[in-house]
Each structure stands twice: as structure tokens, then as C-alpha cells.
């Protein structure tokens, strides 16, 4: 037995800081900008312009673009400008369908494993969302809710895929009306899901999640339709 290592705190700090490369920083910045919608579909990503903007050379910019391309955020062809990837309405719809498939599957494991404390956290997350007025914040909180809900399933790969699918279409949620009304609908749906999970009611939870995701899909697809044919 020995006393706690006084350097332990420093180690953690180092771990948190975790010096990032410039390329990693650029990739994170661009990804966040695309995900939030600040960089919209088809925006051209000029390497020299980006390099100047960040005050760095083109090399790390290129590496960041390569990574984002592999992740699907950016479309690029040899010797041509990279552009922010467009996600077709069909792909968006399919993304929701697959999420529904994954999440209805995961919810069974969630119900098996979730603890009372985690349920409390979900309820708290629901309450927090009611307070939010900014749409962007609401979208982020919504993603966090789903992530938190599914993280209890202990299926890291499925969670990863579901999260990835969400994040790629998140920017299109913006279109589905800034209307708080709709968001409150979602809030009610979230609470119903949490209640079903708390009651360990697999069938109800599956049905509620499927309906919830399908509703969201409907809203987004409709919004895109209106956008195209106003």
C-alpha cells in the first residue's frame, strides 16, 4: 500500500491536452463546420484558401481533406476541387431507416443493462432539452440524448455506426423547421421512450423508437421536398 501518486493528476492533464497535429485540428474544425451546416453542400474547399485561413501550409490541409473524404464529409476527384459532400434525399431517408433498424435492435440490450442512475440521466437530459431555445443547441442535445440512450447497450460498433449515421444528416435537421413545436413533440417522444425503458417494456420501447425515428425522417424529408419545390 502506498499513497496516491501526486503526479497522477499531471498525467491526466497531459492526456486531456493530448497535443494534436495541425492536420487533426483542421479536420476537426472542418468536420464541425460541415456537421453544423456552417459549410453547406457543394461549398468549394480551396486548399490555398484554407491554408491561408488557418495560417498554415497546404500539407496539413490536404491530409485533413483526405481524412474527411474517407469519412464521407467531402467529395473529391483527382486534380479537381474538393467540395462539401451533398447527401441525397434518398440517402438521408435510408440513413434514418438504418438508424431505426439499429436503434430498435439496441434498445433490447439497453433494457437488459441500463441502471437506475442512467435512467435518471436520461430524464435529466430530457428536461435540459426543454430549456433550449437555440435550434443548433437543440440538435446537439438531441444527438447526445440518443447517444446516451444507446450507450447502455454495450455494443460499441453499433453505437458508432448509429452515431455516424446521425451526424452525417444532422445538418439537414436544420431545414425541418426551427419550430419549437415540433421539437417539443420530439421531447414528448423522448420521454415516452425513457418511460418504456424504465418499465423494461421491450415491445413498447421498440415501437416508440421506431415511430420516433420515422417521424423525424418524415419531417426532414418533407422539409427537403419543400425546399426543392417551394
Amino acid at each position: 500500500m502506498q499513497t496516491a501518486n501526486p503526479l497522477e493528476s499531471l498525467k491526466i492533464e497531459r492526456g486531456l491536452l493530448e497535443r494534436q497535429t495541425t492536420a487533426g485540428y483542421v479536420a476537426d474544425s472542418l468536420r464541425a463546420a460541415i456537421q453544423s451546416g456552417r459549410l453547406s453542400d457543394g461549398t468549394e474547399l480551396n486548399q490555398v484558401a484554407l491554408a491561408e485561413h488557418f495560417g498554415i501550409s497546404r500539407v496539413p490541409v490536404r491530409e485533413a481533406l483526405r481524412a474527411l473524404e474517407a469519412e464521407g464529409w467531402v467529395t473529391a476527384m483527382p486534380h479537381r476541387r474538393a467540395v462539401v459532400a451533398a447527401v441525397s434525399p434518398e440517402r438521408i431517408a435510408e440513413s434514418f431507416e438504418i438508424r431505426a433498424l439499429l436503434e430498435t435492435h439496441l434498445i433490447e440490450k439497453v433494457i437488459e443493462r441500463i441502471t437506475a442512475e442512467q435512467i435518471q440521466r436520461l430524464k435529466a437530459a430530457c428536461n435540459r432539452m426543454d430549456e433550449l431555445t437555440d435550434h443548433a443547441e437543440w440538435v446537439a442535445a438531441n444527438a447526445e440524448f440518443h447517444h446516451e440512450l444507446l450507450s447502455s447497450a454495450s455494443s460499441p460498433l453499433a453505437l458508432e455506426l448509429a452515431t455516424q449515421l446521425s451526424s452525417q444528416v444532422e445538418r439537414y435537421l436544420r431545414l425541418s423547421g426551427e419550430s419549437v413545436i415540433r421539437e417539443n413533440e420530439a421531447g414528448g417522444e423522448h420521454r415516452a421512450i425513457v418511460a418504456a425503458v424504465a418499465a423494461r417494456d421491450v415491445k413498447a420501447a421498440r415501437r416508440l423508437i421506431h415511430t420516433h425515428i420515422d417521424n423525424t425522417r418524415q419531417r426532414v424529408v418533407d422539409a427537403i421536398g419543400e425546399e426543392e419545390n417551394p
Copy 2:
């Protein structure tokens, strides 16, 4: 009205050749090597060594590694060597589970849409697989069969995900015994699936696919277990 442009053929040829960048070529080469198992888990990917091997500079090598990292083939940390990513047994198992989920879902759409001609192609693919003796070729043909089967569902994103999940664990199929016996089992399972699809029997097809993938999962997981505790 005008005669066919004689340059059109060149354009197509150009399109097929589709001049690739060096970085793209390196990424493809490495990906193929990892997928086939020629580069195994934990192999260090030294930039200068790779650059010398390909007879190029480090820049395109770095871009290739970035892309492969984003795709999950390579693990890298700042200022440290990149290594071929290891896929944990849990992740492999989960990968099969998610594939089962996706493929049992897709098979319904397949049955709705598949044509007689496509069914013939699937049968032909089954027959071709019987001829193969090389394990690596068999694995590739197996992947092709599943891809061909699901491509009739017209769900590009789901197909993409399923294919991606398969390709990432494909190299571990090698462990599951070179035994032709087991591969013949799979051949029988494939034929049964095609038969159910041809008969438009959704329930049977779902059950058969699920069993098939679960069997494969079992074989691979067992093989890994033996590998670790011989």
C-alpha cells in the same frame, strides 16, 4: 443529328483508366494488402520504408495513411508509428451481428425486386465457388456473392455498410480453417438462400440468412479462440 463522336471511346477509356493520384494508388494497395491479410494486425507502417518501397516521397504515403486511418484500417497516434489496426474479437462478433441485422432486413427488399436474370447470376456464382480451391479466392467470391445478393435491394447505403463491415473482418476468415468442408457448408447455405429468394419466401430467407451469418460468426470466433488459447 450527328454521327457518333469518334472520341467518345477514348473518353470512356479515359474514364476507366481514371488517372489515379499516387496517394490513391498507395491507399488502394495498402487496403488490399490489409484486407487480404498480407499485412497483419499490428504491422508497423513506416512512412519512409513505404515511400522507398513505392519509389515515391513521403507526402502521398502520409495522405494514404490518413485516409486508411479514417476508414478504420490503420491505427495512428500523433508522432507515433501507424500500425495495421487490430479488430478485437468482440468487435468481430458485433460486426457479424450487425451484418445479420442489415442483411435480414435487406432480403425483404431483395425478394420484392430481384429479377429472374439476377437469380440466375446468383446460382452461377454458387457454382463458381465450388470450383475454387484457393482459400483467398473463395473468400473474395464469398464477399462477391453477398454483395450481388444484396445489390438487388436498391438500398445503396445499407449495402455500403454491410460490405464495409464484411471487408473489415474478411481477413479473419482465413483463420477459420482452410478446410474446404466448412466452405462447402457455406456453399449449401448459399444455395438454400437463393432457393428461398427464388421462391419469394421472405420468412425462410430471413431465417436462412440469419443462420448463415451466425454460423460464420461462430466459426470465426471459435477459430480466434483457438488461435489465442491453442
